[in-house]
């Protein structure tokens, strides 16, 4: 993983209308190429606004956003920016355009003027990478939520992006759909080196990221590895956020005087900690 900044925000402020409170307030942030960044924060914290600034759907009121070195305010580069940083939205029903999966994946390619003879190979590959190949003839409204989101991701992959921005893409899905989508994106990040900005309400999803950002009142309130962030249970409560259940359990154990480490995120972590604290407890 190279560490050159891929997405950069500098002193970025955004106001929905003049005089309104800042949706984003002088935010500076560098996201290295290939990083999986999760963004947390309650509604109104500015995380969705951040997403829409990252590919030029919104333009900064002050400061700047650059994507692979291109400034989003540069009119001439805006379409390059959007194909470089693809975006998946919350409602799986409201982002598919065509009446058939295959045609929908073609939509972006048609928009950026890819020659028709190059399309099938790109579409097939994108569907393969998202595990949706067997659904290419399906009508979108007959798919599950998780499948629709994977079609949306395929539509972006066909454009060969360098970054994926997912704005609460799992909020409306059932647990199975959430797993499907997160696993797909984690794999794309790992295998294709695609930079990921994953905006979510679900702490257990954020726990799987390389880096977690917590937004509050349009500013970055916390920034660190999942272990660093979730060990600060009280601080997260102040920000009206949850922690993953195992982190909460570790906190409860600490309150009971057990010297358990604060970085526990998953059941695996907890089992390891119990082994460390009480080797005689476990036979294996």
């Amino acid at each position: 993983m190279t560490q050159s900044p891929h997405l950069t925000l500098s002193e970025l402020s955004y106001y929905y209308e003049p005089g309104a409170p800042a949706a984003l307030d002088r935010v500076s942030l560098q996201i290295p190429r290939g990083q999986f960044l999760a963004v947390l924060g309650h509604n109104g914290s500015g995380k969705s606004t951040l997403a829409k600034l990252l590919n030029g759907l919104f333009l900064p009121t002050q400061g700047s956003v650059t994507v692979s070195g291109m400034d989003t305010r540069d009119d001439a580069r805006i379409w390059d920016i959007r194909r470089t940083a693809g975006m998946v939205f919350q409602n799986p029903d409201n982002q598919l355009v065509a009446t058939q999966v295959y045609d929908d994946v073609a939509f972006g390619l048609e928009n950026i003027g890819i020659p028709p003879e190059e399309m099938p190979a790109r579409i097939d590959r994108a569907l393969e990478m998202t595990g949706m190949s067997q659904f290419k003839q399906h009508a979108p409204h007959l798919l599950s939520g998780g499948q629709k989101q994977r079609v949306a991701i395929a539509g972006i992959l066909a454009m060969q992006p360098e970054a994926l921005i997912l704005d609460e893409a799992t909020a409306m899905l059932d647990p199975q759909g959430r797993r499907e989508v997160l696993d797909t994106v984690l794999r794309l990040n790992r295998e294709q080196g695609i930079t990921v900005v994953w905006i979510t309400h679900f702490m257990e999803e954020a726990a799987r990221a390389q880096r977690v950002l917590v937004m509050d009142h349009g500013r970055i309130a916390m920034d660190g590895t999942p272990g660093e962030i979730f060990s600060q249970v009280d601080r997260l409560r102040e920000l009206r956020l949850d922690v993953p259940p195992m982190t909460r359990l570790a906190h409860l154990l600490q309150e009971r005087g057990i010297p358990i480490s604060s970085g526990v995120l998953t059941v695996d972590d907890m089992v390891e900690e119990v082994k460390r604290l009480c080797p005689s407890c476990l036979s294996s």
């Binding site: 509604n43 759909g177 009206r240 956020l241 259940p245 359990l249 089992v271 407890c281």
Partner: protein, 286 residues
């Protein structure tokens, strides 16, 4: 006012996507309980919920509310709907009035109550979901936050003062704060005597609230019992591809590793048991 489902089956006629078939379901919903209905998308949970207040009619079998078959000829189904309140998924998408007050008043008005009674009902319902009457009554429901809109929609059903409240995925799409608020409201309503049936995918929410859990798979009722009993059967749930709360997963992993640790539902109990086990060096934990 118990609801009894007797060998209920439902077969769709025209469109398999709108409703899922149900097969031979017998289930009693007891007064005052908080029953969670879990299962995959498409397992028939929502179809079952729509039978509880007569929105769907069974192909065979009966639904008895207070001993009365709600689908027999002459049953007053409309009156039944005021006793069994059904809150759909994303209920904020059904709001339509200009003001919060008018929207919540829709149900009570349909009941034929007087203006004064309606006013009283709306005030009570808003109080129960933590909405300030004076501050909110004249606002447009469409300028509220997602969490507030959902509470307005919930108040719209509560204003009919149903004795049973059926909630389909009440926390779907909410942020953690709004989810906490809403779960708190539901818990309080149940403690104040309303029977609650809650459909949910969020197993940690279920563990936190439910007194009993029923599991549906492919239109059949495959398990029912106390929350502890159901979640203790991890292999069966896993075979159905269903999640279980992390606390149960942990207890199972620790048992496999040789630690004698029992299943518990609530985080505090789990912490107590685990702390005792660690202190005792694994000797006798419960």
């Amino acid at each position: 006012m118990p609801i009894v489902l007797e060998q209920l089956s439902h077969h769709y006629r025209s469109c398999p996507r709108v409703s899922v078939a149900l097969e031979d379901i017998s289930l009693t919903i007891h007064d005052g309980e908080l029953l969670a209905l879990i299962g995959h998308t498409g397992s028939g949970k929502s179809t079952l919920a729509q039978h509880l207040n007569g929105l769907l009619e069974p192909t065979s079998g009966r639904v008895l509310v207070d001993g009365e078959d709600i689908n027999q000829k002459g049953a007053r189904r409309r009156a039944l709907r005021f006793r069994v309140g059904l809150v759909f998924q994303y209920p904020e998408h059904q709001l339509f009035e200009e003001t919060v007050f008018k929207d919540i008043a829709f149900g009570p008005k349909n009941m034929g109550l007087t203006g004064q009674q309606v006013d009283q009902r709306v005030r009570e319902a808003m109080a129960r979901v933590g909405l300030d009457f004076e501050e909110m009554k004249d606002r447009s429901p469409f300028e509220l936050s997602g969490g507030q809109m959902r509470r307005v929609a919930l108040a719209g059903v509560l204003a009919m003062q149903p004795r049973v409240l059926v909630l389909d995925e009440p926390t779907a799409g909410l942020d953690p704060r709004a989810r906490d608020f809403l779960l708190g409201d539901i818990k309080r309503l149940n403690q104040e005597g309303t029977t609650v049936v809650m459909i949910s995918h969020a197993m940690d929410d279920v563990a936190r609230l439910a007194t009993r859990v029923a599991v549906l798979e492919k239109g059949r009722l495959v398990m029912q019992g106390s929350t502890l009993e159901v979640f203790s059967q991890q292999e069966r749930l896993a075979a159905m591809g269903l999640d279980i709360p992390d606390g149960f997963k942990l207890a199972r992993r620790l048992r496999q590793a040789g630690l004698n640790m029992a299943d518990h539902v609530h985080p505090e109990e789990i912490a107590d048991a685990l702390a005792a086990a660690i202190r005792g060096g694994g000797g006798d934990a419960a």
